[in-house]
Amino acid sequence: MNASNGLLRVIQNASVNLSRNSQSGKNVGYVISGVFKRHYSPQPLKRIYACVNVNPASETSSSPDSATTYEITLDRKKLRTPARNIFQVDNPGVAYTVGAEWAAQGKTLAQSSMHLTALSNTSQDNPTKKTKYDLSTEILTLLTSETIIFRSPEDSRLWEMQRDLWDPVLYWFQDEFSIKIPIVSGTILCPTIPEDSLVSLRNFILSHSFEAVQGLAFSCHTLRSVILPIAVAKNRLRADEAVRLSRLEIDFQSSHWGKVEWAHDLEYYDTLMRTSAGMMFYDFHTKIPYTSSQDLSKESKPLDTTATESNAAAVEAK
């Protein structure tokens, strides 16, 4: 009886929240998670802003060494995160690239492909309340199901391709972090890697900030691999090379059986977008130095969404 009364109260509260209308007023759904409410619309959102600017926020701290916080304004309105906080980042690289992402949108917003914005929002809101220790545990757990240690003995050509392309990266990783990772073939069971051998890798991951580990974890989940994103982080591979290595078997099979552009290529470019966004996010928080001496206070000119192709051609001619 008490449990049913409690459930009834939750449903009543949910129905009160569902009766609120959104700004668009149509086709609005609510997804109530255990942490905060998100409302989404099945219709694509239209671009209602013209000008995107990245401005330093007003500094509340009096000390001159405090880091500058950047905010993004869409036509004088401040950009907000899904948790309705004002979007604020300390890193200028993240701020300017996220601003460029919003400026590059067309007549409708493609929010599902704005990965830099999504990574920044997740880092700021942290809806699942994770710490970098939780993320590092996730990454180390993912190492046992690493893509490049599972080989295919059924086809000799694929086996040789995997040996020639994957082995150098695997041996480099083993030398770099003093880990011995077994190669698995003929079984789907994940190997066991002793915890003691992961100390060096764990220390490497934890030496970065939460945002950098967030970007690294995003790339690891996208590629189903830990070794490949870390190779990109260490400048050993490029992002597109890492994506090609993770899709080696798919490319091998599609080269034999044929490729379907709306499936294979679409998946490749989606993976490439996610991986490069994740590694960019990692780089901005680790490798790229902050630059505070640039005078970027001049506002960008309003972006006219109704510009014709002739204007673009005029810019190209310049």
């Binding site: 690289g93 460029a100 400026a103 679409l266 490069s276 630059t291 972006l303």
Partner: protein, 153 residues
């Protein structure tokens, strides 16, 4: 050193090419956008550092620049393929109703006379015959007040 400089210029050129379509306003160039000014500022800052640390910073900048180019290229190609193969979506309720020969509730109904079960087929036949022979072959016995019956009385 010369090789890395040409690589850096190549990355800058690719970034310019990828950022250009996002600038739609007239009289606005990519060079005037905030993101381009930030990128150029980073390059100038790296150029002033000549030590080995500066070389490492340059490598890191090139790697990040390459990742950004790949992100923009991947995004462009993803949307191109998605728009090319995007389906027409589901049929609307109006189209489905027309396909099946139904009308929607908001559409006006046809005012056809509805045939009730109580009407016998003989009476209908008689009334139709009487209406067709109204000029005087047989009296209209369905209507007791017709002139033909009153004349018979």
């Amino acid at each position: 050193m010369a090789g890395s400089r040409s690589e850096a210029f190549n990355i800058l050129r690719c970034l310019y090419r990828e950022l250009r379509p996002s600038v739609n306003a007239p009289q606005t160039h990519v060079y005037e956008t905030q993101v381009w000014k930030y990128i150029v500022g980073l390059c100038r800052q790296c150029k002033t550092q000549q030590s080995t640390q500066g070389l490492e910073v340059q490598k890191n900048l090139e790697q990040t620049g390459r990742s950004y180019v790949l992100y923009l290229q991947g995004s462009k190609e993803y949307h191109r393929i998605s728009d090319e193969y995007k389906g027409a979506g589901e049929r609307s309720a109006d189209d489905t109703a027309k396909l099946l020969g139904f009308k929607m509730p908001h559409e006006p109904k046809d005012n056809k006379p509805r045939r009730s079960k109580s009407q016998s087929p003989s009476h209908d036949t008689l009334s139709s015959e009487s209406s067709s022979n109204s000029k005087g072959n047989a009296p209209d016995i369905s209507n007791p007040r017709s002139e033909q019956i009153s004349s018979l009385r």
